[in-house]
Symmetry: D4
Subunit: 149 residues, 8 copies
């Protein structure tokens, strides 16, 4: 058994690297969104032509990015959604809802201060982790039956 | 043709009333989550027993509420998701993602200041409205072909 | 047994009226798109605000109209798609493809001059009719077993 | 992450070659319909026996071709639909509707003169491109996060 | 709880009447194919125009009839398929396979002499009945918990 | 919003009556399996003929009962599964798994002594209740937003 | 593009060999039912124990065989169903109905004398072939665009 | 044709080893739950933090284990569920129900003493086996058409 794991959410810390490096040696295929913030914002207009109105500038980019995120979500066995301490992060919660409706196994990665605000998201999840290393430990256990320590 | 419309999201203003009253006379069945904040937070422990740990207190409540929200989302033809100016509102974005994955017609109701933060949610929507009255006008047009003015 | 029938396609002749009137007395619920050409083109900007760029003007309207057409297509048992002699009518063919993928019973209503150009659409259909009255006769037969004459 | 991309629509220009060659080196599997016009028209009768009536001649061929096009559409992550400047091209719009109903990511490739006639198709798409090279740039960005220039 | 029951198969005996009359008073909605043999054979050409080739004559009729049979099968909770002692009755077995793939509860009504030839069909069924009255008893038991005698 | 609620599991106490009576006045449609133990065991052979081998006696009955239980499970919004203190009750756990795979909201009703043995079933549920009255309170809250006390 | 093709139906002639050998060199994976008539009839009782009643003897075997036939049907892109000149062949028609409900591309291989009796099955098919070599030609055309001659 | 087979249920005897070793040389991919009882019970709290309340201790573990069991069930062609002579084994029956709802081919492995208690589970299965070697024989027959002896 191998797992395909989509890593959704916050893009300003190194949590993806910590998960991917920690999972080295496990039979996991990771997929991720484009995490280059500028490219992600401007991909639509760069390829398909400028838009004077920021609303449609955003729309063009969001749709192009959705080709990748939908593919990542639909192909995944497990979707990890990271909520950081900053920003609205509505796209992370949107991905969590999307994954839940598809019946994916959801792991939420978030600091305790968000517990109450994320209670609906957490209630749809198989695990609420605090650190990327816990996500790695879950993946290792799910794939090999081995617990840490 | 009638429509079933689920009104998700922000619970601190009168937007639901404005939509429901505005749509009077149209063949719309509205469904809504429990909007009594205290009841919504405490329903799990009140019915099923207290929890010393707030995390599980929240979990119990969120799961009980999910019986209603899932039913509302799954039965809906149209899901309106309202983002206000306060709070994290991750459950609103979660509902939007859930609705999108189910192929529901999504209407986002939000102030322009959230445009960029909501660009992924908006890109999955059939309409981005600013005022509840616009939602009413959309429902009226969809059902009767009549435009305002 | 009753049928829900969505009448898609050409909006410049009276074919919908002929089908609906002809089917009087049968247990059929008809649904139709908005057939007011101007309202259909402008619904998006009228409700949600003007767009200087015609491309987004069209996008706003098409998305609002899709709330109705998707509902009509998804609820239908039978989808009748009419191709007239004028215009590109790509939205009619799009509806036909959408209906086919959902497994709906498709009836194509078209003049013989389009036979070759519509061969892929026809091949997905249960019937290719030439006149609205033939559609009525099919509905009558399907519901009552009665043939004309 | 790799992508399977079905290239639907117009068969009289070299757009497919430009997309496929441009995408060299990317992890994309392209599928295409039979683009030999004569073979596509006559496959049914050539294999299964002649038909005196052109209508059934077309039906036999369209059904045999549908084995390939349905497989292409159903296996695809992304469906690119090209509308050229000539012909009715209803099969292209039919494929677009079919892909949309299956939840595929749709890219429409069309000249601006068709914008209004294609507004419903465009509204279901992740991108509206003008040149095959833009399709390549989208695929490259979706797979590698790299933008042109 | 009510049941929708589709009565498929043999059309030359009074088994449908015996089931429907026997079930009087139960909360059952019965649906049936067109059982007028001549109308069923000729519906396509009568409405849509004659065909010199019997193969296409049959195709036209079979497709028109499929509008009704697909609706009947898809809406049913229970599909009863009757195999008589004469004819090939491949459409009955086809309906049984169609119903099985949709997850419908299947009841096969057949004489013991067909047991071996129908073993694959029977293995997909909830019950193999010999007489229409047994079908009625099953429906009564399923709806009311009452057994005969 | 109304709810359809299937009451699965233990048949030797009055828990179904307590739920149904407690929910009087709420917009709930309850469905239940046949709870007459003898009828449930013997329905197959009584209607379709005796079997000398108890294994096939059971099979015939279980299949006939499945017509009702599948219908109940598939139509339900909420599935309540009651585990009592006696017997194996594997059919109750089977129903719970069936309901979970269909995405139904699951409520488990069980005494605390079964907590560990039911941990996988509970983990798929929206609520674990101890008394039928708690189930009623959940249904009342879900439908009306009203909490006890 | 490769195809997975399930070869269902008649087991007393060499049609499967002719299709498989004819398709040599094409990217096709063929799957077939167990075609050893005796093994197919007796597999259930041989492995799981004798049954004095032929009805249950058949049931045991049919269910074991269904593990293979369901897998073959569900994994297939194309299902070829062969009807010979002898026997009832209800399992062939059952497979055809099952495949049709799953949306598989169906090819019927049958002699003209069965045309009328198979009209419902044919109407659900992409092609009605008379000889195994025609099936091969269809597969070659679908995969390579090459027509015979 | 290869098969993916999930081995669910009892973890205190060597039945999985006997099935896996017996099937050596066959094209079968076996998947299994974590069968280390202690790890399975404690995985949640070991990774995600201790819980003073055994109920939530169990919940945390059951949810983490569900990531693996859901993946195993969803990817399987065949689900073998073993019921031993001890314990409640409700998770085994839950898995059986889950598999049945997904349309998986189910094989129940159980001693005859459980026949009556398992009649609903058995009625959803393709085979009821008594010994692991019978499961192996079924898999060999399904894949190769070869019967024992």
């Amino acid at each position: 058994m191998g797992l395909t794991v989509y890593l959704s959410g916050e893009i300003h810390t190194d949590w993806r690297e910590r998960v991917i490096e920690g999972a080295e040696g496990l039979d996991v295929t990771f997929t991720v969104p484009v995490t280059d913030h500028a490219a992600s914002d401007d991909c639509g207009v760069t390829i398909l032509g400028a838009e004077p109105d920021k609303f449609w500038h955003d729309r063009k980019g969001a749709l192009v990015n959705a080709i990748r995120t939908r593919k990542g979500l639909e192909d995944a066995d497990v979707v990890v959604v990271r909520f950081g301490t900053q920003y609205k992060q509505w796209n992370a919660a949107f991905d969590a809802g999307f994954a839940a409706a598809l019946g994916k196994s959801l792991i939420v990665l978030q600091p305790p201060e968000h517990d109450h605000a994320l209670k609906e998201v957490n209630a749809a999840a198989m695990a609420v982790a605090r650190e990327p290393e816990e996500v790695v430990q879950i993946l290792r256990y799910v794939l090999t039956g081995t617990l840490p320590g």
